[in-house]
Symmetry: C2
Subunit: 409 residues, 2 copies
């Protein structure tokens, strides 16, 4: 397995485009297409929000009824097409129809994704213009496609990874948008992943679920779960490499995990107003689910995130957030370390600041020096069991408030 690349050269049989359909006022790219020249097996994971956007409802239905012959994914920004009722579903379907006509496939082969303001109807004339422009400019410009799904993102986020096998090599590539409304329970955002490997639908579904669990579901920007979160994985088999044995599936899973982890971390790095990248390594909780819950609660604590922003080693807020995660936690058994950097080994977790129910005799200036860094890793040993999980999160800054105080204007 090679390393994750931050670019996408090309993936056999896939073409993409990102165009300006007139949705964004500033002329920026705002509509994307990902198209396969042959039918794909496709898997998806979606928001667990009870208020699901029309494109989410449509895609869930299509992947239920017709998961073996997907040909395209169309994405628009500016309007989330959520809280739009029957009109919203009609517009989502109409978008798919337009794409199907342009590509000479049937509508059921097209998936759609939307992001933007909730409660606004899709401007269908502009959507039609987007379909027309995008289908006429299909190629290998993944950076443009990734730019075409951005909202408050400051840069396109894309990546790829190559897997070499005895039968040849295949690629997994993808793009993601994030920025705000980022929280676990389908942590996202929109993400399209494609591969030219051939794989069984069942395997694709379980691989995508496992990959999402250790990537998109382990990031927190602001604790808000979107109505539109969608991650899609399309496999067209055009590399001629089949992934089916246990070993082949393992290699595929490893590569997909690495790519989605990279893309998820990119979402955190490019979160709204983010100035710090925070790694929360929770170890020895009663279970993995408990560790995840503790990390997510700390990551969503606005009080803790404010302290990160202020470079304040106010670690008591971390312990207070851990304590309200609604899972077993015994402060007297817990220990907390802090270190500079993006990750830490269990052997050298850094400066210990809390142990046996009380602060250690660490020097405040040592903690302050670490907190001043742009990347900080905390290790919380719960001393309860063997459940581990790592969550990636960020600080909350003045810019977050500014961005979200007048997002619509």
């Amino acid at each position: 397995m090679s390393k994750v690349s931050s670019t996408v050269e090309s993936v056999r049989g896939f073409q993409v485009a990102g165009v300006h359909a007139g949705l964004k006022k500033d002329g920026a790219l705002d509509f994307s297409l990902v198209v396969s020249e042959v039918d794909c097996a496709a898997a998806g994971v979606f928001t667990r929000n009870k208020v699901k956007a029309a494109p989410v409802l449509l895609d869930m239905q299509r992947l239920e009824e017709n998961p073996q012959s997907i040909r395209a994914v169309a994405s628009n920004t500016i309007s989330a097409n959520a809280c739009t009722g029957a009109i919203g579903l009609k517009n989502a379907r109409a978008t798919a129809n337009l794409v199907a006509d342009a590509l000479s496939v049937v509508s059921e082969q097209v998936l759609v994704m939307s992001t933007g303001v909730i409660g606004t109807h899709l401007p269908m004339e502009k959507i039609a213009r987007g379909v027309e422009l995008a289908s006429a400019s299909l190629g290998s410009d993944w950076r443009a496609a990734a730019a075409g799904i951005m909202t408050t993102d400051t840069r396109p986020k894309l990546g790829s990874i190559r897997v070499d096998t005895a039968a040849g090599s295949y690629t997994i590539a993808g793009m993601v948008k994030g920025a705000g409304m980022i929280a676990p329970n389908m942590a996202t955002m929109l993400s399209v992943l494609v591969t030219d490997a051939e794989a069984q639908l069942l395997d694709l579904n379980s691989s995508l679920s496992a990959a999402a669990r250790q990537s998109y579901n382990r990031i927190v920007v602001d604790g808000d779960t979107s109505t539109n979160d969608t991650v899609l994985l399309l496999a067209n088999g055009m590399s001629g490499v089949t992934v089916s044995s246990v070993e082949e599936l393992e290699a595929f899973q490893d590569a997909l995990n690495a790519l989605t982890r990279y893309l998820a971390q990119e979402v955190v790095r490019d979160g709204e107003g983010v100035t710090k990248f925070i790694t929360l390594k929770i170890v020895n909780a009663e279970s993995e689910a408990d560790a995840e819950r503790i990390g997510q609660t700390i990551g969503a604590s606005v009080l803790t995130k404010s302290a990160f922003y202020g470079s304040d080693a106010n670690w008591g807020r971390i312990m207070a957030a851990a304590g309200r995660a609604d899972v077993p936690l015994e402060p007297d058994s817990a220990s907390l370390w802090v270190a500079a950097g993006e990750s830490v080994s269990s052997d050298a977790p850094g400066l210990q600041i809390f142990s046996g129910g009380m602060p250690t005799d660490y020097r405040e200036e040592d903690a302050a020096a670490i907190m001043a860094e742009a990347s900080i890793a905390f290790t919380l040993d719960c001393g309860m069991g063997a459940g581990d999980a790592t969550i990636w999160t960020c600080d909350i800054s003045h810019d977050y408030i500014s961005i979200n105080g007048d997002y619509r204007s």
Copy 2:
């Protein structure tokens, strides 16, 4: 029942003091005492955070073992005495011992409360100074006592209510601190409530639980539940009025509800960096608990709070937050209204902006005019059942980030 007054004249048999013990660097009041000249029956509700501060653990134990003869409550700021292990418990007990000595009572008759930075040990010399000064200046200055428990609060928060009965009148009075780390599950903060009525311990406990449920547990400033949340209710019986019949208990509950609701709303109004007071009236959820949960999730949504701050009628964020509250919700059955002001009647909930799964044809400028107000009330009709709950919350501003970015410095 009279109306809640924002002052406290005096409550028979209770004396209070707020002094500067040297804990705060700026010379402000930082230590408080509330003392009864006779034994009190006392009830308490405490944080549900797994990481409980030493004073919480001590008070829980004392109210379990000795709830019928409480004489005093001592409170300090600057240090929360949380995450301080065995030393913290020793210091909490030592504080009570000092108060007991000064008042010539036994230590078990004294309760303690702390607020401030987590993970710092109580500076016992300053605490001793506080006890000495406060016990020497006991009187009826409730404003000073309420100021002595403030942290980032901008003003003391206190109130009282008089209940007239055939047997005479009694008073319930109290004070509260809040400002940050304010979320449900004992929403608070520190609050001491006293009454000169006489009541059975069992009745006091159930009255306090019921009152807290509809007041302190229904406010959200930032979604963070503190390690130190404590509400105490002391009844010394010195008015000569006994509260025991169903009617008497009802009148007592009504008065206690009104007072705690007033104090809880004061906490929201004086929340860190708050510029808007938001009422979230959730009606017709499947159950009252569901309605509460939906309101609390909206109230804790930093994305929604940012929109409030920006006076942005971005109501989709309210629906998105409601949808991730993890309780049944069917967007097509839901309706949302917005109105200016602090409360709305069910008959006239204001401007309807969402209905039948999609936006109404409301005029954007009408919604914008309401959102520009300092007090805004939303009514979300879930259309599911008969569960109602009202949550009071606020916006999140640049000042919140500034205050919490460098709280310790």
